[in-house]
Symmetry: C2
Subunit: 205 residues, 2 copies
DNA sequence: TGCCCCTGTATACGATCGTATCGTATACGA
DNA sequence: TCGTATACGATACGATCGTATACAGGGGCA
């Protein structure tokens, strides 16, 4: 094994453990939980299968740990989202989210895949997304940035759907639109359209 | 086997074949393609596993047939959608879709599950949904029901996301909202909110 | 009546799944 | 320097996967 001689046991543990988490997140996101095998995950992480049992007890335990890490990431994203308000701030929120997606694409695709099967982890993921959007809506209401008589619960749900939508379409995006949903040009057009929709809509009454 | 004595071989074939398709659609939708086993599908259909090979060649062949049938159903839904126009017609479109969802809930949940993995069938499903929405947008533009300077491609994509969104959230809906996404009350609120969004938005500029 | 294809079941097969076990290497405290 | 706990890899095990094979009943036709 070509390891650095000064590498301690602790860093080795963390590295391998984290490598397994990253490999699992990537493969679960790409193929789904059932289709991704432990041997494949261990191979991508460059470790032996036994380590999954050592560190996480089982394949399900690995998923739970991944869930925890992804939830923590979204939590962090959420904390910054709360700093933004209003419609011009919607752009900032989008920018934040886009920047996060670029940096942690696997995490978003993992959320996408996790929502496909109902587990405690995926339920928690969705609940957190809803919480973020509810807070965003409530804050904007308090600042008078919401129109009158808005169904706030549905507004929050709308924002969740709108956040997840591109992730759901992402695997098909290249074929249908000629580029990734998170390509800069795509994000720009989408951002412009969504900004228009939430403030004016796009159809005449 | 408790079969009707007057049942002919032909109807038996169709029944068992169709039972396999319905069972497969249901289980693929509920657990995903990988997690649903052929024995489980055959058991739910009340037939032996060998029939899957007889009628569809393989598990993948069964999925392809399910894809075809679901695509045909959406095609039919699409043809009626084209009859509607305008914002008040958006209600009718929603009503049509909701009626279809009630009747063929498994079909929609199958679409949801199919979009999770990229196959020729799922790509075709998504493309068809996009086509439906593009036509809807184009028709409305021709009738002058679209606002000026609308990004029509994104409008269609928006409608697709909006159509799929509730299906994606459906498994979590009971916990998060206390009822199904396709409960009448839910549909009513959602329909009202979406109608408002596409015509006025919900935030002040 | 005999032959045959079609639909169908039961069962066997090889591969792969997730998990368990065991041996070894390494790090750390006494 | 030794003992012990832990990290890690190699491999075995039982279960289950999708698929293949063998055979049974039952109309249609010569």
């Amino acid at each position: 094994m070509p390891q650095n001689a000064t590498e301690t046991a602790t860093t080795t543990q963390l590295n391998r453990r984290q490598r397994l988490i990253l490999a699992g997140r990537h493969l679960f996101a790409a193929k789904g939980y059932s289709a991704a095998g432990v041997r494949e995950i261990a191979a991508e992480a460059g470790v032996s299968i036994g380590l999954i049992r050592t560190h996480f007890g089982s394949k399900a335990g690995l998923r739970e740990e991944i869930d925890r890490q992804v939830i923590a990431q979204i939590e962090e994203l959420c904390s910054r989202a709360s700093e933004h308000l209003g419609t011009e701030a919607l752009d900032l929120l989008v920018e934040d989210a886009v920047e996060w997606v670029e940096r942690e694409r696997d995490a978003l695709l993992y959320v996408r895949a996790a929502l496909m099967e109902k587990t405690p982890g995926s339920q928690a993921l969705l609940r957190q997304l809803l919480e973020i959007m509810r807070r965003f809506v409530a804050l904007n209401r308090e600042r008078g940035l919401l129109q009158d008589d808005v169904d706030e619960e549905w507004a929050a749900t709308f924002l969740v759907i709108d956040f997840l939508g591109p992730a759901v379409l992402e695997p098909f995006s290249e074929e249908e639109f000629g580029m990734s949903m998170y390509h800069r040009e795509m994000v720009k057009r989408r951002s412009a359209f969504m900004n228009r929709v939430v403030t004016r809509g796009f159809m005449r009454s």
